[in-house]
Amino acid sequence: MELNGEQLIAAPVSRVWLGLNDVSILHASIPGCEEIERISDEEVRAKVMFKIGPVRARFAGKLILSDIVPDVSCSMAFEGTGGAAGFAKGKARVELIGTESGTLVRYSTEASIGGKLGQIGGRLISASAKKIADDFFLAFAKELGGELITLSDTKVEDKKEE
């Protein structure tokens, strides 16, 4: 599964970068995040209650960051297991681009999902991932004290790009 998109947040690049690296802001922004802990500069561990439609499963996972260029971009590899429900793993790349009205966050993700979740949830897995990403950015922008500006415009654009 691939998930690509972009969101415009009404906050300067440096603030968005700090937010993406601040576990307490991530804790408040990631839908269903129950625990999140920074192990080192490159590693983050989290427990997330994944709740969408028929599925309510708790995932424990880790995130390894690489190619970190502060205020510009980073890559990450992630994997998580949700017990009987299944597992997810993949990689993502995030880029921040400063614009007049705020920061454009561009992300591209590749993930594979296995186990029961893959079989049952497969029908709508990309729609679910998109909803989670949208929910995250909405909460994240709010946490930064900014807002998602011209959200509808960017949304339309990124849907067409997918």
Binding site: P54, V55, R56, A84, A127, K130
Partner: protein, 284 residues
């Protein structure tokens, strides 16, 4: 696999069911027909600590006419809708749609309210409720509220229902004599989830379309109305040239979302095919 352990309570009244929901919050799930929930529990995709059985709650039962509205209780099964004379007379779109829902065994148990509250984007009832301008009657600890179908479905599997609220019934305006409908669905095999579907209704006045509702399902995260195509059709009489324009408009305005077997392009193409079939069928 078998479900994880859970408690089970059979609520005797709506008030009791809502009190239980308020008490247990996210840990509780309502069970009526159980056609989605039980599969999910057995696969351990979800492990609620308590199931609240609402099948004995009388306020949620029955199909009846109330003034100029047809009221369908949340517990009414798909089979009851399929065989109800009141439905055939006052909401014939639903009668036509019912056989497309899964298989007989599932229709015998699955419920109207369950399908709506679950909000699967590929399900038939959410789209039909949009096409018929249904009103959802919702009860919570602070009383009852009503929400129109177009405001009820918010996002993928997400409705305006709060964690302590129950969908009690839907109210649908009685079909008028100048009203025609068409239900179209494409699925790989009968009973499968729809690849694309359409619930359509028009009301005509002196040969011109007065009201047009085109509710597509299994095309996006929620059932979706083709509002530009609807507005284009309203006020005109249906002919083949109009149908072609409407098909193009609908294909342009609906941003389809791929699923595991059908790409965006396939869905966009198919929704036009279904719209052409529906409008041709409804053409006087």
């Amino acid at each position: 696999m078998k479900a994880a352990a859970f408690d089970y309570v059979k609520a005797k009244s709506l008030i009791e069911a809502i009190a239980l929901l308020s008490e247990h919050g996210e840990d509780a799930r309502l069970i009526a027909g159980g056609q989605t929930l039980l599969a999910t529990l057995n696969l351990r995709l979800s492990e609620p600590s308590i199931l609240i059985d609402i099948t004995a709650v009388s306020e949620l039962k029955g199909i009846f006419v109330q003034g100029n509205m047809l009221r369908i209780g949340a517990l009414v099964t798909h089979t009851e809708i399929e065989s109800s004379d009141l439905i055939a007379q006052h909401a014939p779109l639903l009668k036509e749609a019912a056989p497309h829902i899964a298989h007989r065994a599932i229709r015998n148990l699955g419920t109207w309210g369950g399908s709506l509250a679950y909000g699967d984007p590929a399900a038939e009832w959410p789209a039909c409720s949009l096409a018929l301008d249904a009103i959802m009657v919702i009860q919570g600890p602070s009383g009852a509220r009503k929400v129109s179908a177009k405001d009820f479905f918010i996002d993928l599997y997400t409705t305006t229902l709060q964690v302590d609220e129950i969908l009690v019934a839907s109210e649908i305006p009685l079909a008028s004599s100048n009203q025609v409908h068409s239900f179209q669905e494409l699925a790989r095999r009968h009973g499968d989830y729809a690849a694309v579907g359409l619930a359509a209704m028009i009301r005509t006045d002196k040969g011109k379309v007065q009201t047009c509702r085109l509710a597509f399902f299994s095309v996006a995260a929620i059932p979706t109305m083709a509002s530009k195509a609807q507005a284009f059709i309203e006020g005109k009489s249906i002919d083949t040239a109009l149908i072609q324009r409407a098909v193009n408009l609908a294909r342009e305005e609906i941003e389809t979302l791929a699923d595991i077997t059908n790409s965006q392009e396939t869905k966009t193409h198919l929704l036009g095919v279904l719209l052409e079939r529906a409008l041709t069928k409804m053409m006087p």
